[in-house]
């Protein structure tokens, strides 16, 4: 971290670098990288006039190609890629060469997209390929071997390799591209899509540049190592990027991933204040609003986004969420379908559509949607979880185990999968496994606070009253610790059981305490009163001081783990 701080000391230098790279990207039509760099540059203080970086040196080649390049660039901007490539043929400057190759690549991609619409048969649909890729690869690999590629062309070469599914080679080339031009964010981003685990990340040799910190933070988010990611982003903010909307959005997404909803909401609201016409990441924002059931906010967001651009994937997802919250699931599904039409590889939409179909009880369509999501990304735990839920609805608990296990594998520390697994095991009367799952769910931090209760009930079924009481105890503590905002009906059940338990074990003080608390709840009031009466009866019968009676009992009978019930007092609402 120390190295990081001193590197970031020179923000002016960074700003200069950013300005240079922005113009480089723009000249080459790399819009997204340009956008990223510009956003970042905007977050830094403006430079005085004399400190602005000089334009890139103009070589002889550049001068020669200037006219062709200008012409081609304008064709390129108008998406006439073939035309652009035609006029660039034979140019020898690096810039022209990149644009030449890049327009050929884009032309191939565009044709591929067009082809998919009118294919000659169902099987041929998936077989449409970008025909330009192979030629590009041959040419680029020749140049690559000769060492004639600069940072941008290396990046393009990497992209081509990735599209040809030559992932290993692609990683190597991307690393090379990053070394050649560390400021080009597109290359980092492409690399991040290829890194699958932390070991692989560690094994990469990356240049020591300030962009590396951005990359690492991004990578940590991708690999679900949220704590590390947040730490990294925090460092970046402290280093002077506090105004960057990019970082704020990334932090918000990270909070969303660890389900710290309030934090994430706050950040998104801040983001919208700063950048009201932003559409990126707004689908995540709407997910948060959905979880919190904030209807007016979600409706406002949806209206706002429609006004900005209604043909964006994010907009469609937000509207889908909006309809879903209003329980208009058919419309919601329709909007998710629209999102998928706009971008068939949009993972979130597939999963969300699956959820909608689930709500509509159209299980087969839900399965289809989830399967599609998995096809797009095998690591999408929500889709696996959704499949599990679907089969659970179809009353196939053993069948859904497989899917829940998959989901759990992908998110080992998510209590929801564990609880779902536990429930399935419970239905299969595999109590031992069920107990394990519930206990683990509690240990990793239970979000819905249901694991302990279920565990307690399992113990109750198995007549393990000590363990059951212990779990109810923990459960009540948990609930009261969170404050009264979580209104749980089951608290009364727990109290009732505890009362009876203490009564059976002749711990009358504790029992009466529980019984009194029972009386706070409507459904348990009668039982609480009855228990209180019983206690007073028993106490009348035994008029010996309780201390003599209970001292040996509590030493022998109570399990060691048990928490004293008096702890309750501190959580009294």
């Amino acid at each position: 971290m120390a190295a990081l701080c001193c590197e970031f000391g020179d923000l002016v230098q960074i700003k200069k670098q950013l300005i240079t790279v922005i113009s480089l990207c723009k000249e080459r039509g790399l819009l997204h990288s340009g956008k990223w760099a510009s956003e970042l540059a905007f977050a830094l203080d403006p430079l005085p006039k004399d400190e602005l970086p000089p334009a890139a040196p103009f070589t002889e080649d550049d001068a020669q190609d200037l006219d062709a390049l200008t012409l081609a660039k304008s064709y390129f901007d108008l998406k006439e890629y073939d035309r652009s490539a035609y006029f660039l043929k034979g140019c020898c400057s690096q810039k022209a060469y990149f644009l030449y190759m890049y327009s050929r690549y884009l032309s191939g991609e565009k044709k591929k997209d067009d082809e998919t619409v009118d294919s000659l048969g169902p099987l041929e649909k998936g077989q449409v390929r970008n025909e330009a890729l192979r030629e590009l690869r041959v040419e680029l690999s020749k140049k690559h071997n000769a060492g004639e590629l600069d940072g941008f062309t290396l990046y393009l070469y990497g992209v081509v390799l990735r599209k040809l599914d030559l992932l290993k080679e692609a990683v190597e080339v991307f690393v090379e591209a990053i070394h050649a031009l560390p400021l080009h964010w597109g290359a980092w981003l492409e690399l991040s899509n290829l890194v699958t685990n932390i070991e692989m990340l560690k094994s990469l040799s990356l240049p020591d540049c300030w962009t590396k910190d951005f990359f690492m933070a991004h990578m940590y988010t991708e690999l679900q190592m949220i704590k590390e990611a947040l730490q990294k982003y925090q460092n970046l903010i402290e280093a002077g990027f506090s105004k960057s909307t990019y970082i704020i959005s990334q932090i918000a997404v990270a909070y969303h991933n660890i389900r710290d909803i309030d934090q994430a909401l706050a950040l998104f609201n801040e983001l919208r204040d700063q950048d009201p016409y932003r559409i990126d990441n707004m689908d995540t924002f709407s997910n948060l609003l959905y979880v919190k059931s904030m209807k007016p906010e979600l409706s406002y967001l949806a209206h706002n986004l429609v006004e900005i651009d209604k043909y964006r994937v994010e907009t469609c997802c937000v509207i889908g969420n909006y309809y879903s919250l209003r329980s208009q699931h058919e419309k919601a599904a329709l909007y998710f379908q629209r999102a998928l039409k706009l971008n068939p590889r949009c993972l979130g939409a597939w999963t969300l559509m699956g959820h909608e179909y689930m709500e509509m009880k159209n299980t087969s369509a839900a399965i289809q949607a989830y399967r599609h999501a998995i096809e797009v990304n095998k690591r999408d735990y929500r889709a696996w979880y959704g499949l599990g839920q679907t089969y659970e609805i179809l009353k196939m608990p053993f069948y859904c185990l497989y899917y829940y296990r998959k989901a759990h594998q992908l998110r080992p520390n998510d209590s929801r999968m564990l609880v779902a697994l536990g429930e399935s095991y419970e239905k299969l009367s595999q109590q031992v496994e069920g107990k394990k799952c519930y206990w683990r769910a509690y240990s990793v931090g239970d979000v819905e606070k249901m694991a302990l209760l279920k565990l307690a009930k399992l113990h109750e079924q198995l007549n393990e009253s000590d363990d059951a009481a212990q779990c109810y105890m923990l459960y009540i503590q948990d609930i009261f610790y969170c404050g009264e905002q979580l209104e749980h009906l089951e608290v009364s059940t727990a109290l009732r059981y505890l009362g009876q338990y203490y009564f059976k074990n002749k711990l009358y003080d504790e029992a009466s305490l529980c019984a009194q608390r029972c009386c706070d709840y409507n459904d348990a009031r009668e039982e609480g009163k009855a228990l209180l009466r019983q206690i007073s009866q028993v106490r009348d019968q035994i008029e010996t001081p309780s201390a003599d009676l209970f001292a040996p009992l509590s030493n022998n009978n109570t399990p060691v783990r048990r928490v004293s019930p008096l702890n309750l007092i501190s959580f009294t609402p």
Binding site: L123, K125, A365, Y399
Partner: protein, 773 residues
């Protein structure tokens, strides 16, 4: 007998034993191949063809229309075999189109005879040809401009790629091409140009990329082709695994297919079958679930709990999962999945599915080792009630198997078998006929009737399959075949025909490679044969390492063999403790055959400590058991043991009497070694009755002695066939004694010399002749 339930799993691509991959609706698309067929049809209607040629072509039409897409070479070759003139005309027409312009194709379609106008031709609208033409015309007219252009491009590619690989086995074509020098020129030009382009491009490329170009099968598969591929591979996997693609290659093909079309659900099922071949639980479970997820989509318009629709596939999904776990030996998991399937099937009143579940249930119980007779009986009754002959007779076969091991009387079993056989033939359930034959083989062997067993095994192996013979494959890689072949190998080994045995085993190895499902059967058989051979030849050190291998495949068998080796190595105490354990275990699992064998081995151990009288009750018990279960070979073996004990106890007359009872079956059905042993024992009894004592020449009964000489000679012949030298040595010893007492000095000397030679060769000190059977 091994379990025969391997084929009992639901294969959705299969009805009545025929594999169909084509379970989804076919949509017609115009492909270059279809254009060629259209051209052929056009030529047939337009030109004059001689009658025999026309007949041949007419026979060709249906397969060409309905079959998968062929390459141009294959297509032209087929046509040419029928009528070279038409083939040439078709080729010319294609050439015109491919080397011309788009308008030539358009023109071709417009000149096709419209089925609605041509009343008198074959292309009338209701004829097969007319229907096909109408389909094609409709499909063609529906294409958008860019699609038409694409079709034209692919037609050009189709045509030219035929010439790019002239050495692909189309020998008929060069001659054809030579007729037209103009065409020849263009085509070679194309070829050369194409090649140069390729070479230039491919040299710097990676190997993985290269493959894409070189394998012709890599090209885009049409729907029909994909279906055909899947159907063929599935069929081969079921019937003759060796002819199917290797697991890795098949996996790659499937991955390729799935990459292009992830919705092609049947590919997932084939993937599942393929992963089962290599015992990959993760992939197979994954593919199975994926397949059913996809299948559920395909049938989603149906009712959720009717006979059709996705409710049905849900039930079978759970059932298949159960079968998967069953195969991998995860009995608890299988049980849970099965219960789930049963519950869903019950909820939706699907009796057929319930029956399938029930038969899996008893199979599972059997595999777990518990008694499932009642369940099986129920299953048979219910299956008969619901008219499911397959499941019913499968259940009966299972009952038969249980009954055989538990000592049901032979005539009842045979009756049951006969009844089911009638059922099989009536419904032509060829699979079950095979199983039934294999079972008969097994049971005859168990009863010790080797000739009958041999006959049944041959019957099975020589029976031509009832399956419709597709792809030149006969169904011969089922478990039944393995079992029959193993029995055959063992029967040959018993007769000392080791060359034949090695041939059979070689065949088994080829037919059922070590990773395949039934390989364990022949592995065990192979090991047993080797073990027996080494034991007979007295090479105990070679037999010992085999024990570990046998135990890996079958624990009980392994323990028994271990005891045998230990006994032969004179480590009696260890052997005894193992035998005791084994006996307890086998009595618990009701494995009568093994119990009797263990008793015999224990009796032999008693002999070693000269406890001949203590061995008697054991032997009598074994005899009773063997008779009760009709195990003839074991019964005669026990009688041999009994006679030996009696001989040793000094009642040779009794022994000889008892022996006569066993001698007949042994000579008729027994193994060579048993024959030899029986005869040797007889000879010794005869000698004892005749009054021979080893060292004292008494007044022997010479008639009996002569008889004994003959018997010994016969025994020697049997032993030498197995090169069982230790026993030969004993025989020669006895022979020389006999000859001496008969005063035949030269023969006596000869026997003595043979004895001396063998004794030197064997080196081990000769155990007292008297001490073993």
């Amino acid at each position: 007998m091994a379990s025969v339930h391997e084929s009992l799993y639901f294969n959705p691509m299969m009805t009545n034993g025929v594999v169909h991959a084509n379970v989804f609706g076919i949509k017609d698309w115009v492909t270059p191949y279809k254009i060629s067929v259209l051209a052929l049809l056009y030529e047939m209607t337009a030109s004059k063809i001689t009658l025999p040629e026309r007949r041949r072509l007419n026979k060709l039409i249906l397969p060409l229309q309905q079959g998968p897409d062929l390459t141009l070479g294959q297509f032209l070759q087929t046509v040419e075999e029928c009528c070279p003139q038409t083939a040439y005309a078709v080729k010319l027409r294609l050439h015109e189109m491919a080397n011309g312009e788009l308008k030539d194709m358009e023109y071709f379609f417009s000149t096709l005879p419209t089925p609605f106008t041509a009343f008198d031709s074959e292309a009338y609208k209701t004829s097969v040809v007319g229907l096909f033409m109408r389909h094609m015309l409709l499909a063609y007219n529906k294409l958008s401009f860019s699609q038409v252009y694409k079709l034209y491009k692919s037609l050009q590619h189709y045509y030219h790629s035929h010439y790019a690989k002239p050495n692909d086995g189309q020998m008929g074509l060069p001659a054809l091409v030579a007729d037209d020098s103009d065409m020849d020129l263009t085509s070679t030009e194309d070829t050369v140009g194409d090649r140069i382009g390729r070479d230039e491009m491919d040299t710097p490329l990676h190997a993985s990329e290269l493959r894409n170009d070189n394998a012709p099968s890599r090209g885009p598969l049409s729907q029909k082709q994909a279906e055909y591929f899947l159907a063929r591979q599935a069929y081969l996997l079921k019937n003759d695994e060796n002819k199917a693609l290797k697991p890795a290659a098949l996996q790659e093909e499937l991955n390729n297919m799935l990459k292009f079309n992830p919705d092609f659900a049947e590919a997932h099922y084939l993937n599942y079958l393929n992963s089962m071949r290599v015992q990959d639980i993760f992939l197979s479970a994954h593919s199975l679930l994926h397949y059913f997820d996809r299948l559920i989509l395909a049938g989603n318009e149906g009712k959720s709990n009717g006979d059709e629709g996705y409710g049905r596939s849900l039930r079978y999904a759970a059932l298949n999962l159960a079968s998967l776990h069953c195969r991998f030996g995860h009995y608890q998991q299988a049980d849970l999945a099965l219960q789930e399937a049963i519950r869903i099937a019950q909820e939706s009143n699907d009796h057929v599915c319930l029956q399938h579940c029930l038969s899996w249930l008893y199979t599972l119980e059997q595999m777990k080792g518990s008694d499932s007779t009642v369940l099986t009986e129920d299953s048979v009754k219910m299956a008969a009630h619901f008219c499911l002959p397959y499941l019913a007779s499968l259940g009966i076969q299972s009952l038969f198997q249980q009954g055989a091991t538990q000592g049901k009387t032979a005539h009842k079993l045979m009756d049951a078998l006969k009844d089911t056989d009638i059922l099989h033939w009536k419904h032509s359930l060829s699979e079950l006929i095979e199983i039934s034959l294999a079972q008969t083989t097994s049971i005859w062997r168990m009863y010790g009737k080797s000739t009958m067993a041999l006959q049944q095994a041959q019957l099975l192996l020589n029976m031509s399959s009832l399956e419709p013979v597709n792809f030149g494959v006969q169904q011969n890689n089922t478990e039944a075949f393995t079992v029959a072949l193993c029995h055959l190998a063992e029967l040959h080994a018993e007769q000392g025909l080791y060359f034949a045995v090695s041939e059979i085993l070689q065949h088994l190895k080829e037919q059922f490679p070590p990773h395949s499902l039934h390989a364990k059967l022949w592995m065990l058989c192979d090991l047993k044969i080797q073990f027996e051979r080494h034991m007979n030849e007295g090479k105990y050190h070679l037999a010992e390492p085999l024990v570990a291998a046998i135990s890996a495949l079958n624990r009980t068998e392994g323990l028994y063999r271990k005891a045998q080796v230990l006994k032969a190595l004179n480590r009696s105490t260890e052997a005894y403790s193992i035998l005791q354990r084994l006996q307890l275990h086998c009595e618990k699992t009701k494995c009568t055959e093994m119990v009797i064998r263990v008793m015999l081995a224990t009796a032999e151990l008693h002999w070693e400590s000269s406890g001949f009288s203590t061995a008697l009750p054991l032997l009598l018990q074994a005899l009773a058991l063997a008779r009760q279960h009709h195990l003839q070979s074991l019964a005669s073996e026990t009688i041999l043991h009994l006679a030996f004990s009696q001989l040793m106890l000094g009642v040779p007359e009794q022994a000889l009497n008892v022996l006569h009872e066993a001698l007949e079956p042994v000579l008729a059905h027994g193994a060579v070694i048993d024959k030899g042993r029986a005869l040797l024992l007889t000879a010794r009894c005869q000698m004892a009755v005749a009054g021979f004592r080893p060292n004292r020449q008494g007044q022997a009964d010479l008639n009996l002695a002569v008889l004994a000489v003959d018997t010994l000679k016969e025994a020697a012949a049997y032993f030498s066939r197995l090169s069982c030298k230790e026993r030969l040595r004993d025989v020669h010893y006895l022979q020389s004694q006999l000859h001496r007492s008969l005063g035949q000095i030269s023969q006596c000397n000869k026997s003595a010399m043979l004895f001396r030679l063998l004794d030197q060769e064997l080196q081990s000190p000769a155990p007292p002749v008297s001490m073993r059977l």
